[in-house]
């Protein structure tokens, strides 16, 4: 029975815990869902029945010639798919196609109408294959295809159904981007195609015209040939008219899309829509123009029209265009890139993805302080992180109870198709307590008997979460009912969008199918999946989840647009920034850790090859920082005065590492740079190797300097500058193993850098450091933004401000020295806040007059 193996009984959490909430517990939106199978199971064991080794993306097409067929997979590696039957799965995913796009002759119209439909987004599970998929359907236009459309789908296939469910919103938005690339490329290509065809037709018409005249001249007006020619000419005329109309439709796309957008935006903020849409459209067309116009221009000029037949034959023998031909090549490659990004960013365990998303969401709220210690990715991530917060706070994801979570059916839009192909097999396949019956019972209570036309697919649970025309329309009217201020677009406009969609049920609410009404339809489906029926089903059963998400502004759609613009504006190979970095990191953590620990045990220099992360002009990556964790750990164990050195860095006193050997100095710089606040994107505040005397301005710029000790005259001037500015710097002499710096005695840094630490791995230590520094940052934030300690009570009140500040820091539990750290971080935060992230040319440089001591090993 459909989905029965996937459905786990509704296991309710115990209710008694509700009254007590732990004040220290994390807010709801930041908690990671617990692993469902609490007992004995190893959470990382592979789902046994999955026939593929890792997640992949499948692009497939419903070909009018051969039926559903897989086109390509990402990654394009046969090993990934293993024995997984792509053909079968393509069939599965294409069989749930919504087929909502209607092209043809609508009643009352003489010309074919193009229908600009939004994509549909569906979750599909196949327990037999152990595969779960997010399926993104879209249609591309092809002049030679039946009805001018070619249905395609992009599917993200994973063995972990929870991943699909939890990441639905993210997947949806990412795939929408990919789809948008495809579709905009396709529109351009289709328009070109039409123009060519029009030229052909016009040429043909002129030829025919001549011939007709000739026939008339020769044989008279009523000869059979003449009539034939005249008919042919009429056909061509009609064809020209139709094509012109098509061309008009496709070129007027942006303005039509605007209508759709208009409806959506209107729901949330009526004022801004026009602006948004204008920019959107203009951007869109601009970009498209730039990329394609020149090409088409040249093609237009070089194209020589051909004589064609007026009626295009149904051509099963003809080669259909490939996907790349259907879209513009550059758009196609952009799509592939986007798909690669998706593949990379959703690679790995759900928990990991979830954690990193939480991480990002949290960091996006920390823009004031994140520059201090956080890795570079945090700035780059930018806009897309908003996506997550929306979905995590109020999940609009259709979640089935296979995830083992309590499910409230009225809030989630699930469309459960129950199929009865092999009623007998069901019990064998799934666990006996399969909850199919539960669901069907519950849902059938609300079921409407009007859903006769629905069909269902094999053993699947489908959730329609996407925007389909019907739901759009329904929402639109919903919105009208709720908010009368929404201005009404002309009804004809709307109906033209979704002509063939059957009317929604009057209540417009949850319309699950009755299990009973599906009985006996199974054979029908698989023998001949009629698009009309499928469409009807879709129109009927798209559940009205959308009002909510649309009212909030469908994040998928909106983010999609804005990102599309930026992505298009950028050069294609710039898009990989964050996700690549992150996932590679993820993938290599284990290897790295192992190498870390082994190299530590052997205490050799082999693994610690002095590959400096500070190559000019390249951004520091998290990976390099984690590597640095290992060096830092070694430094702490080797040097008893590590705490003092770290204290210097944290309190903003420039640390100069002086040594003869470049490798040693660089190694120490690598060990210590993770402690430098406000390191900068490229590590600008660190100078790993300097062989000339440094200037005063260098002290302002660099907080960690590796300096060459040389016997040359230059060396003596270096020493002179060291001596001269000795009050502003601390000097770590790695030849004599001494450190000259102000004294520090306290617990804070000793927690941070305990030479007896049990932490063995560099990356673990790095995380430990990050944790401590984050804590410190939080205190600095508190200190910076507490009103009462900074604002003077009256004008002549400077003294009390100072004492209030000092007392506040003491109350936070900091010693005088540690207060300097907080103070320094606070000053950085203030400067950053006032000036914005752009670094003003004139940073001032703070210091204090304290005596330095010489520490020896």
């Amino acid at each position: 029975m459909i989905g029965s193996p996937d459905v786990v009984a509704l296991t309710k959490e115990d209710d008694f815990g509700d009254s007590f909430t732990d004040p220290c517990s994390l807010p709801e939106e930041f908690s990671v869902p617990l692993f469902a199978h609490a007992a004995n199971a190893n959470p990382w064991t592979k789902t046994s029945y999955a026939k593929f080794s890792k997640d992949f993306i499948l692009v497939s097409e419903f070909s009018e010639q051969v039926g559903p067929q897989p086109l390509l997979t990402i990654p394009n590696d046969p090993k990934v798919c293993g024995t997984f039957d792509l053909n079968y799965f393509s069939l599965r995913i294409m069989s749930v196609d919504y087929q909502a796009s209607f092209v043809g002759h609508p009643p009352g119209s003489n010309y074919p109408k193009l229908n600009f439909v939004a994509d549909s987004k569906v979750v599909l599970g196949d327990s037999k294959e152990g595969a779960f998929a997010y399926v993104h359907h879209l249609t591309l236009y092809d002049l030679e295809a039946r009805g001018f459309v070619r249905p395609f789908c992009l599917a993200y296939i994973s063995a972990d159904e929870r991943k699909i469910m939890h990441q639905f919103q993210e997947l949806s938005s990412e795939f929408s981007k990919a789809s948008e690339f495809l579709k905009s490329g396709n529109r351009k290509a289709f328009a070109n195609e039409l123009e060519k065809k029009l030229k052909d037709l016009e040429y043909t018409r002129s030829v025919l015209h001549k011939e007709t005249e000739l026939q008339k001249m020769n044989n008279g007006c009523y000869s059979t040939q003449a009539i034939e020619k005249a008919n042919e000419l009429a056909n061509v005329e009609k064809s020209i008219y139709e094509h012109k109309d098509l061309l008009r439709q496709i070129t007027s796309y942006p303005s039509r899309k605007k209508d759709v957008d208009f409806v959506q935006h209107e729901m949330e903020k009526p004022a801004d829509t026009s602006v948004i849409d204008d920019t959107l459209n203009s951007n869109h067309s601009d970009v498209a123009d730039k990329t394609v116009e020149t090409e088409s221009e040249s093609r237009k000029s070089s194209y020589t029209p051909q004589l064609i037949k007026a009626k295009s034959a149904k051509c099963f023998d003809k080669r259909l265009k490939t996907m790349e031909e259907l879209c513009d090549a550059s758009f196609f490659h952009q799509t592939l890139e986007q798909l690669n990004i998706i593949e990379k960013s959703f690679r790995g365990d759900l928990c990991l993805i979830y954690t990193s998303q939480i991480d990002r969401a949290l960091l996006s709220k920390q823009s004031v302080t994140s520059f201090l210690f956080e890795a570079e990715r945090d700035w780059e991530y930018g806009g897309t992180s908003t996506n997550f917060s929306i979905s995590s706070n109020n999940p609009t994801v259709p979640i089935l109870n296979i995830s083992g979570e309590p499910l409230s059916l009225d809030s989630y839009t699930t469309c459960i198709d129950v199929d009865h192909i092999k009623p007998g097999v069901e019990s064998m396949e799934g666990p006996p307590e399969s909850s199919t019956s539960d669901i069907t019972q519950e849902t059938s209570e609300a079921a409407d008997t009007e859903t006769k036309g629905s069909f269902s697919s094999d053993k699947s649970i489908e959730a329609f979460g996407g925007v389909s025309p019907s739901s759009l329309q329904a929402n639109y009217f919903d919105g009208l009912e709720r908010k009368s201020k929404v201005s009404i677009a002309s009804p004809s406009e709307n109906t033209s969008c979704s002509v063939a969609v059957p009317q929604m049920t009057s209540d417009g609410n949850l319309v699950p199918m009755d299990a009973a009404c599906c009985i006996g339809q199974d054979g029908f489906i698989f023998e001949e999946p009629l698009p009309e029926l499928a469409q009807e089903c879709c129109g009927d059963t798209v559940v009205n989840q959308e009002p909510l998400s649309l009212l909030q502004g469908d994040p998928a759609l909106q983010v999609d647009y804005t990102l599309e613009e930026s992505a298009l504006a950028e050069s294609p190979n710039m898009g990989l920034t964050f996700s690549e970095l992150n996932t590679e990191e993820v993938a290599k953590i284990n290897i790295e850790d192992v190498s870390d620990s082994t190299s530590f045990m052997s205490a050799s220099t082999s693994s610690d090859q002095a590959v400096s992360p500070f190559t000019y002009g390249s951004a520091l990556t998290l990976k390099q920082k984690k590597k640095a964790g290992h060096s830092a750990l070694r430094f702490i164990r080797q040097y008893p005065f590590a705490q003092q050195a770290i204290f210097c860095l944290l309190s903003g006193r420039t640390l100069v590492i002086l040594g003869v050997d470049e490798g040693t100095v660089r190694k120490l710089v690598n060990a210590l740079f993770i402690f430098v606040p406000n390191l900068g994107k490229y590590g600008e505040t660190v100078q790993p190797w300097l062989s000339s005397p440094f200037q005063l301005t260098d002290l302002q710029r660099w907080k960690l300097i590796g300096l060459q000790r040389a016997a040359s005259p230059a060396g003596s001037s270096i020493l002179h500058s060291l001596n001269r500015y000795s009050r502003y710097i601390s000097i770590l002499d790695c030849d004599n193993k001494t450190l000259r710096c102000p004294p520090y005695k306290g617990t804070l840094v000793s927690h941070l850098a305990d030479h007896r630490t049990q932490i063995k791995r560099g990356s673990t230590y790095f995380l430990h450091v990050q944790g401590m520094l984050t804590q410190l940052t939080a205190k600095a934030f508190l200190y910076t933004f507490c009103h009462h300690i900074h604002l003077p009570m009256d004008i002549n009140d400077q003294g009390s401000v100072t004492s209030r500040r000092t007392n506040f820091l003491l109350q936070l539990g900091y010693t005088v020295e540690e207060s300097k750290i907080v103070h320094y971080l606070s000053e950085l935060i203030k400067q950053h806040y006032i000036q914005g992230s752009s670094k003003g040319g004139n940073q001032s440089f703070c210091f204090n007059y304290t005596t330095s001591y010489l520490y020896k090993i």
Binding site: L696, Q700, L791, T802, T851
Partner: protein, 440 residues
């Protein structure tokens, strides 16, 4: 406590040390804990002039005049026009229409005089056909004229029209000018003060040459309405009466030499006695930079109040209140202490000894002491120093609580600020911005 450990019990009444002072890194009284380095010049920066509460101009040997904002450290304008080094600069405020305008007059070796508008950065006036380069400028607000002194003395009105000028004086030219009561001015020319120049009827004439100095006069200041002072190359400090131009006090600064090596060092010492600069502090003290030492003269008592023979490693170039800057690249802040406590004087020198490394100039042993005979002598104690410039600090300019600007031969300007105060100001700015962004 350190001095107890080290047993700093020394001869009483010590005023000075023979060796270079060294204060160490612990400077609790030094409030300048924040610095901002200003880059922009390409050569020695010799002049700093305050324009208003917020702005100042700097000029030097590169012929550039830069206008800065002291709070932000931003360079507001680059005034280009002079082709050679700037020799004198002064601010000039005049009233045009109803508003008071600030302007800037600069003189350069290329024999031009320019008037600049610091609000727009434009050169408003320019005079280029001078016979000699101008070495000093003096604005007489009362008469709304200004004077330029070089080989000759010229009087200009605010429209840059020459009102009158003196005849050619000498090759040495006028090096300093001060305004005196009754529309007189005093101008220093080599060894003599071309005393009063009378300018009431737009005519200039030299009234009297005061030739009491035996060597070149380096500095000339006005003390109050009744007195002005001049200092010469060989350490003569003369205080004059402004009205009748008589000598009120004469002080020939002769640093006491250690008895043994008097002969050998006599030449050297004479060079070091030059009075480079003088300033009035607390309206009754003249602080004079004498060689590499500092000399405080009480005008009322007409006697020396305190002095420190070697205040810097090399010549002191400029003084202000009780600060001095020197060719050794440091700025030092001093404090007059009434009665030196028995164990006090030795203390400062020993801070650096402890726990520091590689301190070559560490001072050991009690320096040679001499108890001066002058009654009421106080000691000049080092309170703190500012180290930043790598070459001679030419001049400084104080903006009170907003900071202290120093200019140097290393082409840099540094604004020194009170870190605590700046931190509070930044906090206020943060809350103001929060309020503006409505993020509170």
């Amino acid at each position: 406590m350190l001095r107890w450990i080290l047993g700093g019990r020394e001869a009483q009444g010590t005023v000075q040390k023979s060796a270079v002072l060294f204060i160490g890194e612990e400077q609790p009284k030094n409030c300048f804990t924040e610095m901002q380095v200003l880059k922009g010049h390409f050569d020695i920066v010799r002049f700093l002039v305050q324009i208003d509460d917020l702005r100042f101009a700097s000029a030097g040997d590169d012929g550039l005049v830069l206008i800065w904002n002291v709070e932000t450290g931003d360079c507001l304008f680059e005034l280009r026009g002079h082709t050679q080094q700037i020799t004198a600069m002064t601010s000039y405020s005049f009233i045009r229409g109803r508003n008071a305008h600030a302007a800037l007059i600069t003189a350069s070796s290329d024999r031009t005089l320019s008037l600049w508008d610091p609000d727009s950065g434009n050169r408003v006036q320019n005079i280029s056909d001078l016979q000699s380069s101008v070495k000093c400028l003096l604005v007489l607000d009362r008469l709304d004229v200004w004077l330029s002194g070089g080989n000759e003395l010229c009087v200009w009105n605010r429209d840059f029209e020459l009102q009158c000028k003196t005849v050619h004086h000498s090759d040495a030219g006028i090096s300093a000018m001060v305004e005196l009561p009754k529309n007189f001015i005093a101008a220093a020319m080599d060894k003599e003060i071309v005393e009063p120049v009378w300018i009431r009827y737009i005519a200039v004439m030299a009234m009297r040459h005061l030739a009491d100095h035996r060597d070149t006069i380096h500095s000339l200041i006005s003390i109050n309405d009744g007195l002005f002072a001049s200092g010469s190359h060989i350490g003569e400090l003369i205080i004059w009466d402004s009205v009748d131009w008589t000598i009120q006090a004469y002080e020939h600064i002769l640093w006491e030499e250690p008895a043994g090596d008097r002969q050998s060092e006599v030449k050297l010492k004479q060079i070091e006695r030059s009075i480079q600069h003088m300033i009035i502090s607390l309206s009754r003290y003249i602080v004079a930079a004498v060689g590499s030492g500092l000399y405080v003269f009480n005008v009322l008592m007409k006697s020396v109040a305190a002095y420190r023979k070697i205040a810097h490693d090399s010549s002191v170039l400029h003084t202000m209140r009780l600060m001095s800057c020197s060719e050794d690249g440091s700025v030092r802040m001093w404090e007059l202490q009434d009665l030196p406590l028995p164990a006090e004087p030795a203390s400062s020198g020993f801070f650096g000894m402890f726990g520091t490394f590689g301190r070559s100039s560490k001072q050991t042993g009690p320096p040679a002491k001499k108890i001066p005979e002058v009654p009421g002598l106080r000691s000049l104690e080092l309170m703190g120093d500012l180290i930043g410039h790598s070459r001679a600090v030419q001049m400084f300019l104080s903006f009170k609580e907003k900071g202290l600007v120093t200019s140097s031969s290393d082409h840099l300007l540094i604004i020194w600020k009170d870190g605590e105060l700046q931190s509070q100001l930044r906090s206020l700015a943060v809350f103001q911005k929060l309020e503006e962004n409505q993020e509170l």
